[in-house]
């Protein structure tokens, strides 16, 4: 039952899956940072209609499962006549889903900076952009960075939904190795260790940031 020689026998498969899991998580992070920042800007912009668009996006996505956004790209987009690789569909689903959470973290970070700070900066003659860059954002980062770290952990874990749509990730390859060898327990124990190898250092980094930033306040 605890025959771990499969790690050596199926090394290439494990690594291929791990690579895709890391790739999906990284693409997910970059994509959701871009989209999330955009939505955060919509939510705090001085135009009511933009606020509504941002709020609807965040509230809707936060209350539906990740699998819905993934299925939208995996089943919905092809049904509209646009072909898409499962890996691409899964990664796009991850981005659209995670962006809602990233947007909320960024918004919370910016709004946590007391309004006196920006008023003081503006009345000292700094422009809006300068105020954002030198006064607001450096302070907001303390709140946003640990939250983004948590989203990265979630991305690594959530990327496993790729397995549902044959997206070539770690869980998908684990299934293939399991079907070939029927040694599920060691296969999935190894897969669990691979995930922990990715997520535990990230959790430690988040804890470290939280403690550092708590002290500096």
């Amino acid at each position: 039952m605890w025959d771990f020689s499969i790690l050596i026998d199926y090394w290439d498969d494990f690594m291929a899956g791990l690579g895709r899991t890391v790739l999906a998580s990284l693409l997910g992070l970059i994509g959701s940072l871009v989209l999330g920042t955009l939505i955060a800007v919509l939510r705090i912009a001085p135009f009511r209609i933009l606020n509504v668009v941002g709020t609807v996006y965040v509230e809707f996505i936060r209350n539906i499962p990740l699998l819905v956004t993934v299925f939208f790209f995996f089943l919905g987009v092809p049904a509209l006549g646009i072909a898409m690789e499962p890996f691409t569909a899964g990664t796009l689903g991850l981005i659209v889903y995670t962006a809602a959470f990233v947007a909320e973290s960024i918004r919370a970070g910016i709004q946590a900076v007391p309004s006196g700070q920006s008023e003081a900066a503006r009345s000292s003659g700094l422009s809006y952009i300068q105020t954002m860059r030198s006064i607001i954002l450096p302070q907001a980062v303390k709140i946003v960075l640990p939250a983004i770290g948590n989203q990265m952990i979630n991305l690594v874990k959530n990327s496993s939904v790729l397995a549902v749509i044959a997206g070539l990730d770690l869980m998908y390859y684990a299934d293939i190795i399991n079907l070939k060898t029927f040694k599920g327990i060691p296969v999935y124990t190894l897969v669990a260790l691979f995930y922990l190898l990715l997520t535990i250092p990230l959790s430690q980094a988040v804890h470290y940031m939280e403690r550092r930033f708590a002290k500096s306040n």
Binding site: F60, F71, G76, K157, S160, V164, F182, I200
Partner: protein, 216 residues
Amino acid sequence: MDFIGAYSWPNLRYLLQGFWITVQVAGLSILFSFIIGTVLGTVRYARVAFVSRTVAILVDAIRNLPLLLIIFFIGMILPQAGIRIPTFWAAVVGLSIFEGAMISEIVRSGLVSVDKGQIEAARASGLSYMQTLRHVILPLALRRMSPPMVSQFISLIKDTSLAIIISLPELMRNVKILSGSSFSYVIPALVFASLLYFTLNYSLSLVAKRLEARQI
């Protein structure tokens, strides 16, 4: 896209049947994960030699694993070792373990946040440690824990969809099957499912907001 055909009564009934399974799995898992989370969180907070340490390591490991892996392991891999659990219960067990670990952290940080003076006062008034925990620390902490706890239950409801990996006939699995019968059903089925999840979860999030407002 064919909304009228997609929303014929047999199709809607099929999706609603899936939603009913989703609700059942979620309800049971909320109950069990609440119990597991409260016990584990309290044990970790109480600093019982060795036991708290073991719980901490276990909880941190579970929290850092994908839930999909846990559900698949219980539903598909344990049978290889002769442990067979019906699909429905495999989903409930997997969700309860994972969300229980998540909730234990909410419980622990709620307990940690209770003012030390309250505990000292209770002990000085002659309450035992267990009495202090039951009558002073837990009630105070519970009030503070309730908003994050409700958010966690919303995550749990969304996470029930991961049981698709063990072919539990819940909502998303039925969406997938229905989508397979006609291309034109895909988007309408996804829209309907989203609305069901959204209605349930958004109502809960309003409850969470209410609870948050009641604080302070």
